[in-house]
């Protein structure tokens, strides 16, 4: 180790005293030879010192290599030479760099996006000793159970947070009330997790009603008021004192870009929290798990679990790190990760096309540099040395291309950070260039230099000196390498285009898809009540009754109803073993649940196929009735008429029998992609705990009544936050996957097509142009122009055919798994997709062949001949 250090130090010094080193070596050897000569003379020997010594030049060469960084210095020289070459061919350099910049820009941007979305670190102290915990298979537990576990002191600290529906809050600002997304955290959350605060302080134990603002909320809603600390916000009717503001790069523990407006203490007894623990230094997750399980068994004694016999809080216990692959797996969002994997694959293909472009450019240039290379080979340059020099050139291209690509990356990331998606939770991405991106782009640069440069470099030096020295390049076989590149590029772009186009078609298909209800003539009013304001179910029932009555009285409104779940926007999944009155054998079914007031089906225009809608008489106290969809009816009762039949849930306890009074036509419930979902509706009953009311209103022109609806509801309760949207606009969430997919993959497909077209055009045009002389000759000898054209076209289209065939074959195969991202009505082997792709690439190839071929035909045969 020390030897290596000495070595580098000595060589480093020698690097700056190159001339000194040279004279030293010279002198040392000369001294030796002189001494030897002298001695030999004295001894009377006739031998020359050289005979004893060997070749001093070789020795000197050896010594020089020892003292210098020859490989690195050569490399540096190669780079400088390459830079000179590129400066002299600005057109070539620009084309190659542009290709690489686009490819690398797209590639690194998707890399950044993936990293940010799936692998970002939350803003916290020492994330490696933080762990998220779940007990009893529950993601959240109530405050009493949380306190029990916290006071067991099994970890260094145990905190909790909640960001779900219950964590919404109404903010009264002037005369308006807004619904905000809050993060309700236990009083020790900031200390346990170690969340940094930009201004003021964090929430601390024994704090009363205080609030910490997100940077986004502070800037967007409070105009970045510098004196905000100490002011109070009216939240759910109570004043909360602002104590702190989070930094702009705050990332929540939840991740995925989730960005709440406020952090407030989880002070209500009804709050529920997800657990996060600070493990003591050195405690493994296995040890933490064991402690947690032991504590859960204690918890069983104090708060017996209520979901069946043999249930224990210790079952379904998980201890998960706050970032990384393991967390993704435990959150069960691997399909999500698969989508990003696919994106990475797609941009990998885009980059591959860009590299092939550069490759063909280098090939074309290599053939015009044949003589230069041949002369260098002839005067004794090693082949490896020349390959290295050519590679230095492609490396330089790749480095400059990566630089430009990173600029593109920064710009695109900025765009993505500003994008606002129609999600139920506010989201903000914080994509920043970091060391991972830098490392990745270095790898990409070197990789693309090799991919683009290695083949042309080897090819350029393969032919021997004699062949290369010949002045002209004559008809040289078939150029299989270049053909292979064209075919490969075609194949890859077919795959890209197919994927992109498939997603674009998926988007158009899902936008025009009938969700099974009428989204054009309906509006959705979301009214969030302050929970503390309504203590009894009666108060809430009155509110709902009054609201529905006033809404129905509005001019232009045809029907109004209320439901627990707005289709395609929220989801309530159940799984239960159901026992029907026709069989003793329970059937396990997974179904969507919702509840609906009378008129719901008329409002949404979901046909009732059998039986009836809910009636006001189905109210509380009346026998339990349900409406099920066709799929559910079939699942439970087969082909029997389900009307009048009853069924019961078997868990957690056997429920009272429910009578089927209607069968609704199948529709979409949560996603457009769902296949044959089961669904069940209960009559709507206002419970005391219900704080989110979703009114659905039918009007022939919903845009005309939006304002009146908001005013009507606002008059009923000024402390409630009210948002009214046309149903059509509220479908954003449902269209989101297809839109994002289409936007990302469609643009990648287009980028790939653009790159491939340029490359294809370049290569085909070049190979036709190279045949100008031959074509001239043929024409001079009397060949029919049309026949010549056909001959040229045959070659191009031959390549096109092979490339398309390979590409289509691969596409058929690789697009199969994409089905999970597409609406079920669209098949991955959709012929329209493939036909379009073939047509587009065919047109490009046609243009690329025809232009140069016509130009070649127009050349005066005499000119071509004279050249020979």
């Amino acid at each position: 180790m020390r030897g290596l250090f000495t070595n580098l130090r000595l060589r480093w010094h020698a690097l700056w005293k190159r001339r000194q080193l040279e004279t030293d070596l010279e002198d040392e050897l000369a001294f030796h030879l002189a001494m030897r000569d002298e001695k030999n003379r004295e001894a009377g020997a006739a031998e020359r010192a050289q005979r004893w010594f060997g070749n001093p030049e070789l020795v000197k060469e050896d010594l020089r290599d020892q003292w210098t960084f020859r490989a690195i210095e050569n490399f540096w020289r190669d780079l400088r030479y390459a830079a000179r070459m590129l400066r002299r061919n600005p057109g070539f350099a620009a084309a190659a760099i542009l290709s690489l910049a686009l490819g690398i820009g797209a590639n690194t941007t998707i890399f950044s996006l993936t990293m940010e979305f799936l692998f970002s670190q939350p803003s916290c102290r020492n994330p490696e000793t933080l762990a998220e915990m779940r007990i009893g298979g529950h993601s959240d537990i109530d405050m009493a159970k949380y306190r029990f576990l916290r006071d067991a002191h099994i970890f260094e600290g145990l905190a909790g947070s909640n960001e779900e529906h219950k964590a919404e809050a109404n903010w009264r600002f002037g005369s308006d009330t807004y619904r905000l997304q809050t993060m309700r955290v236990t009083e020790n959350f900031f200390q346990v997790v170690g969340v940094p605060v930009a201004m003021g302080r964090a929430i601390e134990p024994r704090d009363g009603d205080v609030v910490v603002l997100s940077d986004r909320f502070w800037k967007a809603r409070l105009a970045a008021d510098p004196k905000v600390l100490g002011k109070s916000l009216i939240i759910d009717g109570r004043p909360f004192t602002v104590v702190g503001v989070l930094p702009h790069n705050h990332r929540t523990v939840l991740g995925f870009g989730f960005s709440p407006d406020l952090y407030i203490p989880a002070s209500r007894e009804s709050d529920i929290v997800a657990l996060i623990a600070r493990l003591p230094d050195g405690m493994s997750r296995q040890a933490a798990y064991a402690r947690l399980v032991a504590a859960c068994k204690q918890l069983d004694k104090v708060y017996p679990p209520d979901w069946g016999q043999n249930a224990s809080w210790a079952n379904g216990t998980e201890v998960v790190p706050v970032a990384g692959v393991e967390r993704l797996r435990s959150l069960n969002i691997l399909p999500f990760a698969a989508f990003f994997g696919m994106l990475m694959a797609v941009v990998g293909l885009v980059l591959l096309i860009a590299c092939v472009n550069v490759s063909s450019l280098l090939l074309a240039r290599a053939s015009s540099r044949r003589q230069e290379l041949a002369i260098r080979l002839a005067i004794g340059a090693g082949r490896g040395r020349i390959v290295r020099q050519l590679l230095a050139e492609s490396l330089l291209l790749a480095l400059v291309g990566t630089g430009a690509g990173l600029l593109l990356n920064v710009w695109l990331s900025g765009l993505m950070n500003r994008v606002q998606l129609p999600l139920p939770l506010p989201m903000q991405l914080l994509i920043q260039a970091d060391w991972r991106l830098l490392l990745y782009s270095m790898a990409v640069a070197v990789g693309s230099a090799l991919v683009a440069g290695l083949m042309p470099a080897i090819k350029a030096t393969r032919e021997g000196v004699s062949a290369a020295l010949k002045l002209t390049e004559r008809q040289v076989g078939q150029w299989p390498l270049r053909n292979a590149l064209v075919v490969g590029q075609l194949a890859v772009s077919v795959v890209l285009l197919t994927t992109g186009f498939l997603f674009v078609r998926n988007m158009t298909r899902s936008m025009t898809m009938n969700p099974g209800f009428d989204a054009e003539h309906t509006a959705w009013a979301y009214m969030r009540l302050v929970p503390e304001k309504y203590t009894t179910a009666e108060q809430k029932q009155n509110l709902v009754r009054n609201a529905l009555g006033e809404l129905r009285a509005l001019p232009g409104v045809e029907a109004a109803s209320i439901a627990c779940i707005v289709p395609l926007n929220d989801n309530w999944h159940s799984m239960n073993d159901i026992r029907t009155d026709i069989s003793d054998q329970p059937i396990r079914v997974r179904f969507h649940t919702s509840c609906a007031s009378p008129d719901y089906f008329r409002t949404m225009e979901i046909p009732i196929l059998q039986g009836r809608e809910f009636l006001p008489s189905d109210d509380k106290g009346a026998p339990d009735v349900v409406i099920i969809n066709e799929n559910m009816a079939h699942e439970l009762f087969g082909n029997r008429n389900p009307l009048g039949h009853t069924f019961r849930y078997t868990s957690p306890t056997l429920s009272a029998p429910m009578t089927v009074v209607g069968v609704a036509k199948n529709s979409k419930y949560f996603t457009l992609g769902e296949e044959n979902p089961l669904a069940l509706y209960n009559p709507f009953n206002a419970d005391a705990w219900m704080t989110n009311l979703h009114f659905l209103i039918r009007a022939s022109r919903p845009c005309d009544v939006v304002k009146e609806i908001a005013q009507t509801l606002g008059r009923l309760d000024a402390s409630a936050s009210i948002e009214v949207k046309q149903m059509r606009d509220a479908m954003g969430l449902a269209f989101l996957p297809s839109r994002v997919g289409a936007a990302l993959l469609g643009s990648m497909g287009l980028l790939g097509l653009a790159l491939a077209s340029i490359g294809l055009y370049g290569v085909l045009a070049y190979s036709v142009a190279r045949r100008t002389r031959e074509i001239g000759l043929r024409v001079a000898l009397g060949a029919d122009r049309a026949a010549v054209l056909r001959m040229v076209a045959r070659k191009s289209f031959g390549l096109l055919g092979i490339g398309l065939a390979i590409g289509l074959g691969i596409s058929m195969f690789v697009t199969k798994p994409l089905a999970m991202f597409l609406v079920p009505e669209l098949s991955t082997s959709d012929p329209a997709t493939f036909l379009t792709v073939v047509a587009v690439l065919g047109a490009v190839a046609f243009a690329a062949t025809l232009g140069p071929a016509l130009r070649a035909l127009r050349v005066d045969p005499m000119v071509a001949l004279r050249y020979e």
Partner: protein, 95 residues
């Protein structure tokens, strides 16, 4: 090892090292003298030798090598290794 051994006697230039080795071995180890220099430089770059330019007995500019502390340690280690190895070989040959 031979080079280190020679230099253990004190600083000397390359020619002297060659002469010493030649003399010790009774002209048996007569290799190309040129090969000595790469070896010397390699040892120097490994930090086992240090060098400085001086003036030789006949008033010429010459590069003098001497052992460094690391070089001395290396020599000791190598000679004990060698003693063990040659002893073992000798025993094998006598057996």
């Amino acid at each position: 090892m031979l080079v280190l051994k020679a230099l253990a006697r004190g600083p000397m230039h390359g020619y002297d090292v060659a002469e010493h080795i030649l003399a010790w071995s009774g002209d048996v180890l007569k290799v190309e003298e040129g090969a000595l220099y790469p070896a010397l430089h390699r040892l120097e770059l490994r930090g086992l030798l240090a060098s400085e330019w001086g003036v030789s007995a006949n008033n010429r500019r010459a590069k003098y090598y001497r052992l460094t502390a690391a070089g001395r340690k290396q020599l000791a280690a190598e000679s004990s290794d060698w003693a063990r190895l040659s002893g073992a070989i000798a025993r094998v040959m006598e057996a």
